[in-house]
């Protein structure tokens, strides 16, 4: 009896430590995506929690990165944005390039880019201290996250299955974000929940 109790305590300790480990870490599939608040290019604040009841896509963005250029110069990313924002999906671009680093977007530059690239996004968010990027463990541009209507993370990783900088690779690529969105909109569970993201490293500043 006593031993059982000790064992139970040990098991509890173990689960507690592993739970803590996970907490200190990046977001986990099937768990609520961490909330954040960031300013957009017009100085308006956006909180993830305000978009509860909507599907949300997060796209890490650096306009100087050749992997990002591939998806914008081909119009691939804008087409996706347009298609899904028209279906009431909230699409948030996040720029975590620190000041002085590649791809840093001032509010002015962000607004120019929205026009120039004909982006169809809900908001272009500025994360210059990299807090939200680090909170999400965003590693690359583009690094994608899909969050369901209850605020749970249902996909994170690459945009598609062709890690390359070549526009010609887009046609035959399987788009993982599209796959996740289509499945969840059809009331199914997401078949591919996580993939290794590809691209340029996110240009964070010093902590």
């Amino acid at each position: 009896m006593k031993w059982n109790f000790v064992l139970l305590l040990l098991v509890l300790c173990f689960s507690l430590t592993s739970a803590l480990n996970v907490q200190a870490d990046e977001p986990v599939i099937g768990k609520p995506a961490p909330d954040f608040t960031l300013m957009d290019a017009d100085g308006i604040e956006h909180s993830l929690s305000a978009y509860k009841d909507s599907l949300v896509v997060l796209e890490w963005f650096n306009p100087g990165c050749p992997f990002v250029k591939k998806h914008y110069n081909s119009n691939n990313m804008q087409k996706l944005q347009k298609h899904y924002t028209e279906k009431a999906v909230v699409w948030l671009i996040i720029n975590s390039s620190a000041e002085g680093k590649q791809g840093h977007c001032t509010p002015g530059r962000a607004n120019e880019l929205i026009k120039e690239k004909d982006m169809a996004v809900t908001a272009f968010l500025l994360d210059h201290d990299g807090k939200v990027g680090r909170l999400y463990g965003a590693k690359t541009t583009p690094h994608m996250f899909v969050i369901d209507k209850s605020g749970v993370l249902i996909y994170h990783g690459a945009l598609d299955d062709k890690p390359s900088t070549k526009i010609t690779d887009i046609e035959d690529a399987e788009n993982y974000v599209q796959l996740a969105l289509e499945e969840v909109m059809a009331g199914q569970s997401v078949s591919l929940k996580a993939t290794q993201p590809y691209g340029c490293s996110v240009k964070y500043g010093a902590k």
Binding site: T140, S164, K166, A194, Q196, P197, G199, S201
Partner: protein, 285 residues
């Protein structure tokens, strides 16, 4: 007047320097080189794509890590010739605490074996062509491409080594992972990652320093997580954290183990190929 001449000369030198610098803005020089000076019918030989990178720039290994792209080579060979796969020297790990890449700086030779047909007749020189694509990165990244050509005469005699290349190829081979060793290596899987158990063959008393595992592809281990190595009574233990992008737990671990001390005693080859099953035992935490 003399001063004016000097000034003109200076300006000329200056403009020449500037224009030569602008010929290519790539930070990596790519060249196709051969270990031998001639091709013998039916006798395989080795060539290499040599990438020489400017200070601070790097290119990538077969698994680039968290960011980047592996270098690709597309061969165009004469009829009947065949090429092997790239033999990747062990990579280096670089980057920040939360984003790491696997690759090369300064210089790397990507060796590939070329097999000419037996029916080849010594006549005109053969042309070996390679289209090389790489991503070079420093603070930012630039994709590059180069079309490289190498011409070699065909001779019935055994090929003579190219004295300029012998040492370079030898040093590169030393950096290729050993494909077998007398080490016993096993992997146990847990919810959070993998525990590698490395047991040296009897008699090999060397202690391994700075052990690192490089997975062959992404989505297996957390590339940026610290790999904790511990000395045990019988060998070493290396703890690897699971990738956050693993949809299913890995059933095999494939990759390269690197140790600065070497796998066959002090100062021997530093890299060892690993391809082992992962054993899941739910007692292991």
């Amino acid at each position: 007047m003399r001063n004016l001449g000097l000034l003109t000369a200076l300006l000329f030198v200056l403009s020449a320097t500037l224009s030569s610098a602008s010929v290519s803005d790539s930070h990596t020089n790519a060249k196709l080189v051969s270990e031998v000076r001639s091709v013998q019918p039916g006798k395989p030989f080795w060539v290499a794509v040599r990438l020489t990178m400017d200070a601070g720039w790097h290119t990538y290994w077969r698994n680039p890590g968290d960011s980047g792209l592996p270098t690709k080579i597309k061969w165009t060979l004469p009829e009947g010739f065949e090429n092997g796969e790239i033999q990747w020297p062990y990579p280096h790990k670089f980057g920040s605490s939360n984003i790491v890449s696997f690759g090369y700086k300064d210089e790397v030779f990507l060796l590939t074996e070329i097999s000419p047909p037996k029916s080849l007749v010594p006549a005109a020189p053969v042309k070996i062509a390679a289209t090389v694509e790489w991503l070079e990165c420093k603070d930012g990244c630039v994709p590059r491409q180069a079309d490289l050509i190498l011409e070699l005469p065909v001779k019935n005699a055994a090929p003579e080594p190219d004295s300029r290349r012998v040492k370079q190829f030898e040093e590169t081979r030393w950096k290729l992972p050993l494909t077998s060793s007398s080490w016993q290596i096993s992997a146990a899987g847990s919810k959070s990652g993998f525990i590698l158990q490395l047991t040296p063959p009897p008699g090999l008393g060397s202690e391994l320093a700075k052990i690192l595992f490089f997975p062959e592809k992404g989505g297996i281990i957390d590339h940026a997580a610290e790999q904790e190595a511990t000395k045990t009574e019988t060998g070493h233990i290396l703890k690897l954290k699971k990738s956050p992008y693993t949809p299913e737990p890995a059933t095999r671990l494939r990759g390269v183990l690197v140790s600065s001390t070497g796998w066959r005693g002090l100062n021997s080859e530093r890299a060892l190929q690993v391809d082992i099953p992962v054993i899941y035992d739910f007692q292991v935490n």
